[in-house]
């Protein structure tokens, strides 16, 4: 399937996994290759489930990265098929969804190679439900691909990579409202390669928390995407 990029990506809906959100809400990288030195936020497209359930997260995090840092960042994100060789063009990839996740053999192999080579996969449970289909299947698949996910200590450098989060992962409004599994998850999970996070797994539903248009940040007393900046800065520096 390859990299869904370019102005015609939306027209190639079937080829790109039936992308059904307008370009203005889910921008696509317009280049055959990311410009040298620019960070490109990539979203993983996988065969099963609803990989495109959080279309506003990329633009929101790109906005935050540009807002708080001086890092060169591509103004638009990219969608990359998990089974494609193009996956290795994006060392940080975001994966989310509500539905059961079943990796194909090619996807599983690629995820393993991706983790071994230094990539970091950030997986978020859009259901915020540890009894939900996404969590159960995604954890199972990730365990098969990269090994056991274990609790990440709240003193891990990812919580101080840019902004300081001394209490660990920031809570989301969905957790505090009691939606989903009605739990406030105190830790993230991770699969490590050496002392580096290869897969970061969240039950906190950041996909919903960060899924709004960047312009609406002005209505927030505290920008809730700051932890997203930490994740990106961590991936870029560790």
């Amino acid at each position: 399937m390859g990299l869904c990029v370019g102005p015609d990506a939306w027209a190639r809906g079937a080829e790109c996994g039936e992308v059904n959100v307008p370009p203005t809400r889910f921008p696509i990288l317009d280049s055959r290759f990311p410009t040298s030195g620019e960070f490109v936020f990539a979203t993983a497209q996988y065969e099963s489930g609803d990989w495109d359930s959080a279309p506003l997260v990329p633009s929101n995090l790109i906005d935050s990265l540009a807002r708080y840092t001086s890092l060169p960042v591509a103004p638009t994100g990219a969608i990359v098929a998990l089974a494609s060789e193009d996956l290795f063009r994006f060392p940080l990839v975001f994966l989310t969804g509500h539905l059961p996740v079943r990796f194909t053999d090619a996807e599983r192999t690629n995820v393993r190679r991706f983790a071994d080579r230094g990539g970091m996969l950030f997986v978020d449970d859009h259901n915020h439900d540890i009894d939900g289909a996404f969590h159960k299947t995604a954890v199972e698949e990730l365990t098969r691909a990269v090994g056991t996910l274990s609790q990440l200590p709240n003193t891990h450098p990812i919580y101080s990579a840019f902004f300081k989060f001394p209490d660990g992962p920031p809570n989301t409004s969905h957790e505090l409202n009691g939606w989903g599994d009605n739990l406030v998850h105190s830790h993230l999970l991770a699969a490590m390669r050496g002392n580096r996070i290869a897969v970061l797994y969240s039950n906190k539903d950041y996909s919903s928390e960060w899924g709004y248009h960047p312009d609406n940040k002005r209505f927030l007393a505290i920008d809730n995407t700051k932890f997203g900046v930490n994740i990106i800065v961590y991936a870029l520096t560790r």
């Binding site: 040298s36 030195g37 060169p72 290795f88 063009r89 060392p91 190679r113 080579r117």
Partner: protein, 411 residues
């Protein structure tokens, strides 16, 4: 009686023809004899380069006033082997050997065989561990060497903007065993740092890698560090910033793109984009070119070295290359750093095995060039036989005279 005494002495101790004492094969007996009573000219015919003890013994005889000359019954192979610590943190011993005779060379250490060169030639080996000395043996020589020093490796300092290149460069060096200190810029007043940070000098860092223009404010300090003996690697368009242009091996050319898909091929760096080294200076050495364009060049700067690496997205090689690319990327970066690193040597403790890195060259150094074999080798055994025959003839004559006198009753 005097004549008999002389003949007996000469028979017991043959001086050789015209005072030349020629010895073939085992030299031990001759060396002991020559030490007690040197011949006017001591000549040895070798079938292999002698071991250091024998060679030194011959040299001592020559220095003591004797004339020692040598020749060989067959061509002796010229060979050299040297073992030295690689300037890398993994404790590797780098062994370089060369043999020009065309004969098979086997490489071994005290633990056993390491490699074989069927027809000699040159070879470089990286050995994780070496038991005792490394020996390169052919039919006519045995060269030995041992790493006599160890290197002191200080951390590598990486300076740049947070990004994939800085991340994967740091990771590659760390995974190869280097200690890395880094300062990567995230925001105008925010750097992410790791490792020991301080003034840039050779007491603190083995090398400094400048990935982009963020280190421009430190360019004078880094240039001074290089002049003091430090190693500096300027990546991509970093030489355009600060005073780096004054120390770079060349100028920064216009950016070139990588060849699509080549990063997974046999020449993966052709798939990488970068800034070529334009107009290399007279003191610069181009280390890697692509299509006639220099991509890596280096120069000496007083006591230090400066390298300019055009590639500024080597992380693609690590991530998107073949299955071996990650290891190759690590090794490549490690070698770049090793090529410029300030790495003082510390002699190892005494008790190292004796070495003989260049057997034939050392023999020539000790005794001079070989002397052509004499047209007719001297035959000391013939002289000895004649001497014995004369001695016996005189003895028999004297006995006969004495017997005759006794029979005749004469006194």
């Amino acid at each position: 009686m005097t004549a008999m005494a002389v003949l007996l002495w000469r028979a017991i101790r043959p001086p050789g023809e015209a005072g030349v004492d020629v010895v073939r094969g085992d030299l031990r007996g001759a060396l002991a004899r020559w030490t007690v009573a040197p011949a006017p000219e001591m000549r040895v015919v070798l079938d292999a380069a002698p071991d250091p003890r024998t060679r030194d013994w011959l040299r001592a005889l020559a220095r003591a006033g004797g004339s020692v000359r040598w020749s060989s019954s067959r061509p002796l192979g010229a060979a050299a082997v040297v073992a030295e610590p690689a300037v890398e943190p993994n404790g590797v011993t780098r062994v370089r050997l060369a043999s020009v005779s065309g004969e098979a060379v086997s490489v071994a250490d005290d633990a056993g065989a390491i490699d074989t060169l069927p027809r000699g030639g040159a070879r470089e080996l990286e050995l994780g561990t070496v038991a005792g000395a490394v020996r390169a043996s052919g039919a006519t020589f045995t060269a030995t060497s041992v790493a006599r020093d160890s290197v002191v490796l200080r951390p590598v300092l990486v300076l740049g903007t947070a990004g994939w290149e800085s991340k994967f460069t740091i990771a590659a060096l760390e995974e190869r065993g280097w200690r890395v200190a880094s300062r990567v810029r995230v925001a105008p007043s925010i750097d992410v740092t790791q490792g020991p940070l301080g003034g840039i000098d050779t007491a603190r860092y083995a090398a400094v890698i400048v990935l982009d223009s963020t280190a421009a404010a430190s360019s004078n300090e880094i240039a001074r560090y290089a002049r003091q003996g430090g190693g500096v690697i300027l990546v991509g368009n970093a030489p355009r910033s600060g005073s780096f242009a004054g120390i770079a091996p060349g100028r920064v050319g216009a950016r070139v793109a990588g060849v699509a898909g080549a990063v997974t091929g046999s020449a993966p760096r052709t798939g990488l984009g970068g800034f070529p080294v334009s107009s290399p200076g007279a003191e610069a050495v181009v280390l890697e070119s692509r299509g006639g364009v220099a991509m890596i060049a280096a120069r000496r700067l007083d006591a230090g070295r400066v390298m300019q690496v055009g590639y500024d997205e080597t992380w693609r090689w690590h991530m998107a290359g073949s299955d071996e690319s990650a290891a190759a990327h690590r090794a490549w970066w490690s070698r770049l750093v090793a090529a410029v690193a300030y790495a003082p040597l510390v002699p190892r403790e005494s008790g190292l095995p004796s070495i003989d890195e260049t057997p034939l060259a050392s023999l020539v150094d000790a005794l001079g060039s070989p002397t052509p074999m004499p047209a007719r080798p001297a035959a000391p055994t013939d002289n000895t036989r004649i001497t014995w025959m004369l001695f016996m003839l005189i003895a028999v004559s004297l006995f006969a005279e004495w017997t005759s006198r006794r029979v005749r009753g004469a006194r």
